[in-house]
Amino acid sequence: MSLDASIPTPPLSVDLRKDFEESGVKDVLDELDRTLIGLEPVKTRLRETAALLLVERARKTLGLNHDTPTLHMSFTGNPGTGKTTVALRMADLLHRLGYVRKGHLVTVTRDDLVGQYIGHTAPKTKEVLKKAMGGVLFIDEAYYLYRPENERDYGQEAIEILLQVMENNRDDLVVILAGYADRMDRFFESNPGFRSRIAHHIDFPDYADNELLEIAETMLGEQSYHLTPAARSALSDYIGLRRTQPHFANARSIRNALDRARLRQANRLFRAADGPLDAAALSTIDEGDIRASRVFDGGLDVDRKGA
């Protein structure tokens, strides 16, 4: 055997389709399609990112010049639109594509990064960054990091360290900033360094009424509950009404509503039942359980006028 034969020569072609299926990326994207309802623009962006990384990897195997793309992202959208869930999937996706080594997600807010005293912030921020290395750092409500009204605020210090590590350790971690769209815009305006280091801005749209209903049924299905047809139409009315009331948080509001409906269902069963109950009775949510909500008579007490 000659010496040359032992040196692997770069392959002459790559099969992207095969790569796509073998790397497990297809599974992640399929699961995303199956389990996440709505969010079309987000799914499109995820698919595009996956394609970019696959092509980048293929270029690498062919020995072409490649430059690791920056993948720091910002997720903007109203509360309850699935930003954290998508971040979790994103970490998984990047891990399968070999872009991050471990693929774990570290979720932090201002409190985890900014210290209380002088000299407290830098070690705290570095500790979090080190923990996130090899994975994805998800900073929820990132705009709280910057408080322009207080010029001695330590948030600025955290931002500087964050920017430095985002730039120098690009291969080690991916940072995702998340928050409400308008406040994030203001945050980026006052921190131009962040804007230029984040290439991907993904906007999470609000869910439509029918999507929320679908989400509600999926949530209930996971807990093996189901709705009667009357309860289903009650819930659909509920969603329409709840949207017009304050503090509406998309899927999170629905989850809370369902939790309260389960509470009422349990109470109803407890009071009304005088004989043995079967599994069907225990897992049925009826119209009354939903219609009893305060949403149907004008909203939460705190927001009711004159109360």
Partner: protein, 139 residues
């Protein structure tokens, strides 16, 4: 004279990539990895200065390499080692230690003989570097 203590010390100096692989192995075994430095090269000098806390819950070795480089910025002229502490119940010990940074000049050791009663002779070694005060040894 090249100080040889800990693992890999007869090999050429490890690159950052090699440090990463070694540290990752330790993390995967469940050891807590930490970085230490000193300017006293005596082999019986067991307790080196700690650089930051031991990294108990970092799943990736990139953080170790990051800390080694941070330590090099400040103590680049001293010895820096990475140690892996195994806290498995009943074990509680260092499983692996290796030097990742050493001074440009290592002056070595002198052998000292102390004559005792009768014909006894006690031997000890003394680092030439330790003649200078702490902090000025490997300037």
């Amino acid at each position: 004279m090249r100080v040889t203590q800990g693992a890999f010390s007869f090999l050429p100096d490890l690159t950052d990539e090699q440090i990463h692989v070694q540290a990752q192995h330790c993390i995967d075994q469940g050891y807590a990895v930490s970085v230490e430095y000193t300017d006293d090269p005596h082999p019986r000098n067991t307790y080196w200065e700690m650089w930051g806390h031991p990294m108990f819950d970092n799943p990736d070795a990139a953080s170790v390499v990051y800390e080694v480089n941070e330590c090099r910025k400040q103590h680049g002229g001293k010895y820096i080692r990475v140690i892996a502490f195994d806290a498995t119940p009943g074990w509680e010990s260092i499983r692996l230690a290796f030097i990742v940074n050493r001074p440009a000049q290592e002056p070595g050791f002198r052998l000292q003989r102390e004559e005792g009663p009768g014909r006894t002779v006690r031997y000890s070694i003394h680092s030439y570097a330790a003649d200078k005060p702490e902090g000025a040894r490997y300037a």
